[in-house]
């Protein structure tokens, strides 16, 4: 759109009028399992492949999903002129979500840092005790934004832990919910440019 002020000249890239709605699907798997694309033809690590030893867990009902970052940021201050730059380091990436489906306990225990479940005839038991700080997870959150064309956007976080769990809320007249934070740390087994994760979009009509 031409502006009365005059549009910028030269090479210009405009954004798309494309908007997403709602939360992605959320999957997680033991970090010990290799990603499905390990790596893909372009060198990216993403997606999962479940095995009996390392099954993929699929969360049923999530809301209030957000992707946040922890960045250490310090100004380069020169007293003669003021701040001339800001040094930034990305420390971690947080994937925060509220979970509405709490069963089975076998899966709930994984994200709550409870003990491995004991499943028997008609029962499952989980201990609330010490936390295994050596347990890391891989999280995969795809969002299909055009079902007809199969266009999607994926958030893939390679290596993280469930930290800082919120309260398990048991409110009158409402379903039980619990908020989780999946914190993705630097995975030194992948290139540094993608050490926290990967965003991957597939859209045949929009991309060359």
């Amino acid at each position: 759109m031409a502006l009365i002020t005059g549009s910028p000249q030269g090479t210009t890239i405009s954004q798309e009028e494309l908007y997403f709605d709602g939360a992605p699907n959320v999957y997680f798997q033991d970090y010990s399992a290799a990603p499905l694309n390990n790596p893909d033809a372009d060198g990216y690590y993403w997606n999962m492949s479940g095995t009996p030893t390392y099954p993929v867990y699929e969360l049923a009902c999530v809301t209030d999903v957000s992707l946040e970052e922890g960045i250490t940021s310090n100004d380069v201050r020169c007293d003669t002129v003021g701040v001339k730059s800001t040094i930034q380091r990305r420390d971690y990436v947080d994937f925060i979500f509220t979970l509405h489906a709490l069963m089975p306990l076998s899966v709930f225990a994984k994200i709550s840092n409870y003990s491995t479940a004991d499943v028997g005839t008609g029962t499952e038991k989980v201990g609330i005790g010490t936390i295994n700080n050596n347990q890391y997870w891989h999280l995969y959150a795809p969002k299909v934004y055009n079902d007809d064309a199969g266009d999607f956007l994926v958030v893939d976080l390679h290596k993280g832990q469930m930290i800082n769990p919120g309260a398990l809320q048991m409110r009158y007249g409402e379903n039980w919910i619990k908020t989780f934070t999946f914190r993705s740390f630097a995975d030194t087994t992948v290139p540094t440019t993608q050490q926290f994760g990967v965003l991957f979009r597939s859209d045949a009509s929009a991309l060359p």
């Binding site: 009996p52 099954p55 699929e58 489906a101 479940a117 499943v119 005839t121």
Partner: protein, 109 residues
Amino acid sequence: MVKKKDFEEDAPYNSASVVESLRSSWKMSEVAVAEDASKTYNKVRLVNKIGSRVKLPGSITGELYIWERSGAVVEVDERDAPVLLEKRLGDNACCGSGNKNFVFEIMEV
């Protein structure tokens, strides 16, 4: 001393019939023993795939099978296998994915 005549009157069978009777009863018992004790059943290797420790009894044999962790393989009696292979985790597997959360699958050798 038992006379032959008395013997035949009191026990109206001869030695041949005794042998035949014993043989038939012996055959019957031999068949029964073969069916109960010498019949062997194959083992089926089932792998646990739900990420939990699983402890379940065989529906036919009653034997208690224990899978200590996800990916653990236990040999179960082939008569117990069909019921174990139908075991699922949760009644309402989510997300329309068709995932039935079966607890076990057969481990092919």
